[in-house]
Amino acid sequence: MSAPASPVSAHAASSGILLDRARVALSGRIILHDLTLHLTEARIGIVGRNGSGKTTLLRLIAGLIAPDAGRVRIDGLDPATDRKGMLAALGILFQNPDHQILFPTVEEELAFGLRQQGRTQQDALAAARAALAAEGRAHWGPAPTSALSQGQRHYLCLMTVLLMQPRTILLDEPFAGLDLPTQDRLSRRLAALPQRLVTISHDPAAVADADRVLWIDAGRITADGSPAVVLAAFRAEMARIGERDADTDLAG
């Protein structure tokens, strides 16, 4: 079930997420081994253990790092170089909201992305306030981002991404650290979105409703297919490893 080695023609791949023999090495160690993938489904899940390379894959798709070999295209654009073009193509929800929030107040955080998309400060602030009002959170506008709870900060990060209306949204462990009601609310919200969602998680439950699930291990695709098949195999393997002493190996 591993990916084919032949290059995907640029033709067939003008939309969606395309990786063509993309390799990532960090300080000499190969993290992702020449991945070739074409993701066009609406709901895509990526599972793997800690250190499997799934976060590196997400950073590669988001254009936060460039491949050391091969190429990556998102809707036909190179995510690592065409940063302005990527704003409309792809948004990313980081695992830790504190790694995402750049501004001292809620409305500035929301407005920043819109300014980056070329709107004026006044226009961006007005749109930010309208979005907050539509969510019943108008009073959040001038609030300091540091005063929000963890769940509220997570929610703000999602709103920030949604306001920029990207065609694809990458979610890194979207439910980690959230209490159960917040998880429920967030998963309902995500399920209703028209965008393509790529969810990365170590938890098979987080991607059980996906159209397609990839299982990454040691920087390679171990399995790729429907969640029923891939997740059953993933769960069985995780249970098998858990029976043994799971974490004695050091990376590298």
Binding site: L87, F94, H99, F103, L125, S146
Partner: protein, 200 residues
């Protein structure tokens, strides 16, 4: 600027930031024209009156709390002028400082950071010819204000982690891990900035 947020919403919140900053500049210039204790006392009363008029007693009390960090300067100036016997000169320096800082705090308390930053961006526009992008300058200011509480919180957690495993207080020992944590935070902030189109 972090704790300088007003507990009450006032009419001054709706004035343009540029107007408030210009008024503050004029006010400070005026304070330096006044050279005797009596007019400066009146000026200080005027600042207090503006606080009261805008937001009532709670607002004025908040404003008074905001000038409290000046006490070491008041003490040093008092001691020096007490020593040299120039009491009127000392009173002039102290009153002028209090009236200027209270007025500056009033502007900060009633102005959103992004509005302040927009004024700085406008004023810094000529610097663009020297290669300094006003937008980058503004962004840098916002990042400082955003990350000071994050870093203080990080220091607290490192101190906790130290105390959980040591009978001695951590003190300066948190500095190295806190510096490394700050560098790590900077990497994450750079990622977040890049994810939303970068700083150009």
């Amino acid at each position: 600027m972090l704790t300088l947020t007003s507990p009450v919403d006032t009419a001054a919140h709706r004035l343009p930031a540029g107007v408030k900053l210009a008024a503050l500049s004029l006010w400070t210039l005026l304070l330096f024209q006044l050279a005797s204790p009596l007019p400066l006392t009146l000026a200080l009363f005027a600042v207090a009156g503006v606080h009261l008029g805008l937001g009532g007693a709670a607002f004025a009390a908040h404003g008074a709390r905001m000038v409290r960090p000046l006490w070491p300067f008041v003490l040093i100036v008092s001691l020096w002028h007490g020593w040299t016997g120039d009491l009127a000169g000392g009173a002039v320096v102290i009153l002028r400082m209090l009236a200027a800082v209270a007025a500056a705090n009033l502007v900060t308390m009633t102005t959103r950071l992004s509005d302040m930053v927009a004024v700085i961006e406008r004023l810094a526009r000529p610097l663009a010819r020297l290669g300094l992008s006003p937008r980058r300058l503004a962004l840098a200011l916002a990042l400082v204000v955003r990350f000071i509480p994050v870093m203080l919180d990080r220091m607290d957690r490192i101190t906790d982690a130290w105390r959980a495993r040591s009978p001695r207080p951590a003190r300066w020992r948190v500095l190295v891990p806190a510096t490394l944590a700050a560098l790590d935070d900077a990497d994450h902030a750079a990622d977040a900035l890049r994810a939303r189109g970068g700083a150009d």
